[in-house]
């Protein structure tokens, strides 16, 4: 009788264990689907510089020279916190964060600008292109 108690107890704990495990698996599945949702929300845009691609993974992306910036451009012509990209309603906007060398979108200096596909962003000596992510298959 005593062993039955223990077995039931272990069974209950095991069921809970398995349940937590399944929920974790679900969480991992959702990670993929929520990434997809995010790509839809953000129109799947990226910043590219020559052959480097910067993901835009959240709704506020800080660009600058500082180590804590999301996109770090180690170049003295770039301010520590140079510009910030934000998304809302699926529209990306870039703001100047009070940089020394200014922010240029398609060659014209701006404080704040709505970005469109294939816009050229110039921060100091660095040039970034704002474009849609190329799907792997095309390449």
């Amino acid at each position: 009788m005593e062993s039955l108690d223990t077995i039931l107890c272990i069974a209950a704990a095991a069921a809970l264990d398995v349940c937590i495990f399944v929920l974790l698996l679900t969480a991992y599945r959702e990670r993929r689907s929520s990434k997809k949702t995010w790509h839809e929300l953000s129109h799947d845009m990226v910043l590219t510089e020559q052959n480097v691609t910067y993901e835009l993974g959240c709704d506020e992306v800080l660009i600058g020279r500082h180590a804590s910036a999301d996109i770090r451009l180690p170049d003295l012509s770039v301010s520590r916190y140079h510009a910030m990209l934000t998304v809302s309603n699926g529209i990306w906007t870039i703001h100047d964060m009070g940089s020394k060398s200014g922010l240029f979108v398609n060659g014209s200096m701006v404080r704040e600008a709505v970005l469109h596909e294939n816009d050229l962003i110039t921060l100091g000596n660095r040039r970034l292109i704002f474009r849609k992510r190329r799907s792997e298959r095309v390449r």
Binding site: L23, K36, L41, C58, D59, R80
Partner: protein
Amino acid sequence: MYANPVAYVFSCIFVLIAHIAMLLNVYFNGNYTEVRDVAVLGAAVLILDISYFIVILLFKQTSYVLDFLLILVLNMSFIFQSCFGKVGFDVKHLITCIVCLASCKAGYILCRNHKLLQDKKPYIYGGVIFVMLIVFVFTSPEDMWIRIGSFAIQPSEFAKPLFILACATSIADQQKKHKILTFSVVYENLALLALTAIVCLIQVKSHDYGSLPTFLSIFAAGFLLRICYPKAKFSKKKLIGVIALVIVFVLIGLKYAPEYVQHRLHVDIWSDKTGDGYQQSQALIAIAKGGWFGVGPGKGFLSNVFAFENDIVFATISEEWGLIYALMAIFAILVMTSVPLVNPARSYYHGTISACVCAALIVQMALNIFGSCNLIPFTGVTIPFISAGGSSLMVSGFMVGMLMAAQSPSFKEPKHKKKEADVPTWRWQE
């Protein structure tokens, strides 16, 4: 928006299986006189499960895993609470669980659009101060509860989610700097510091040393995430210096703490088994009696000890269900707080909310468990979701709602702003 239907069906099934396994354990091992008691309990649990599964279909969320975890933990706690002492039907706890689920959804709806909240920062600050004023005026060190008829609420609990919202911040806010002399300062950080000071002072004044560490940990998490964006580099050396300073202050504070605090710190529970150490020593004995697998639901003796269902609930569960099961229950809550690690938030505002919620929940758990097991001084804090108590469950539910919001955010500007043209045009000028 139901992106993973198969995973959700499986989640539902396994949550139900986990609860059924618990109910079987109650049926075979439990201490009850009539089978009807178990049947009623089981029916209530399963009905609540299934109805919640249906209700969450109405919410179009990107992520449902937190809902499943929440219902898993809440029904688990409902079964625990119903079985303490004797298998029964804890109506009060069932109602508070439903309230908790409702407040969770409320929290989700309120927080999912962070732009909305960011505009209302002053109201949030006002709310915290308002709640603190209520604490200050209506409660005394002897009685931290406000009684309205047969209901008793603990107002300081309600300050927690508001305080978390006050601590949350976006990167954009942190870049709004102002120069004071030579320092560039974000005004909001100063305001938060002042708010924390007020909260702490009122907590100390009302002798609520249980909530104080929770508030401080929320503040610490929030503040750490704020100071990452100063113009001047906040180096690791300085950070360690600040932490050392805080520790020194805490030590000095403890040294000159009032008499009753000192007493709490130094009580030796085994030499004062019937006095101040009664709850803790009984809790530890109960854990020892329960062993790994417990004595069986409803068969424990700890349900005769004061505050068995909230302050020393970990020991009560350990005794009746076994230490392994108690640890698993705690683990389920831990998994809940670690969901943001699997599925990261998409905005800094939600990220800071997740970190603060995580700090609040885990610090409360730690205070309760380690306190009742005599690792740290005993404070009357509750384990979120597991302990009985309306205010605590409601607030914990709201906090999980915040986590949920971080998982399924919506990025929409408030309506009053003009919508800009969404026509990408191809331009290339150099």
